[in-house]
Subunit: 115 residues, 2 copies
DNA sequence: TCCTTAGTTCAAATATCGTTGAACAATTGG
DNA sequence: CCAATTGTTCAACGATATTTGAACTAAGGA
């Protein structure tokens, strides 16, 4: 459907550069928080505008960090955990762990707890 | 001497963004290859021009990834391993491991073997 | 069919980044 | 003192990246 890089096309410098943005890091943390549950674009509207979230999700997908699938009018995004782990062992875990304990990143935790 | 951020000033998005550059990643890999041995700026001239290496080393230092100390006319740079490990456990290791097995990055391995 | 929902695409503006050469400072050695 | 070595700083340029609003597509429901 949407273009996704093959595992061998996923490049370390690009992955790091794409993760090196607060909004994208917040999205990745949110994707990891309830691992496996696919999330649509609207899930991240607290982080940025609709059009901007779309831009950042495209960056994540093009870097090979996420997988996005169209279902109806929605697009469900998940982390490409296994592929990233195979290509760069331990990298995603350590980034997520660091991001989870980073109070400076935008978060949905609180809003979620209230729901 | 030169300005270095304190550990609590080292920010995850910035660390990732700074690591997300092929030249800086090659420098970090080189610093890690013979861990502990401080290296001067000239050590990296195969990666970029003198002025450009200086620029990238400053980025690494300002992000808190490296420590640079002036000795005579040279400046010796090392990785801030312990501080980074304490702040972001496993991150540096996984990045270095991934970088080591990345044939696309510029390398000094061959030149070194001949020496 | 019409309207709403979900998200993308485009062009434009701004900002930031990477690279270069020239000029500079500081230390070392003859 | 003079010259070579080591590396930084500066201004400039070109290339990317981020952000925005407006226009657009596609699917679903009333």
């Amino acid at each position: 459907m949407l273009p996704h890089p093959f595992p061998e096309q996923i490049l370390l410098p690009n992955v790091l550069a794409v993760l090196g943005d607060p909004i994208r890091l917040a999205i990745v943390r949110e994707l990891a928080r309830n691992a496996g549950e696919p999330m649509n674009c609207g899930r991240f509207l607290d982080f940025a505008s609709k059009t901007n979230v779309s831009y950042h999700l495209a960056k994540l997908r093009e870097a090979g960090i996420t997988h996005t699938e169209a279902v109806g009018t929605s697009r469900f995004t998940t982390l490409r955990r296994q592929e990233l782990d195979a290509r760069f062992p331990g990298l995603l875990d350590s980034v997520i762990n660091a991001a989870v304990s980073d109070g400076a990143l935008p978060s949905l935790e609180q809003a979620d707890a209230e729901a």
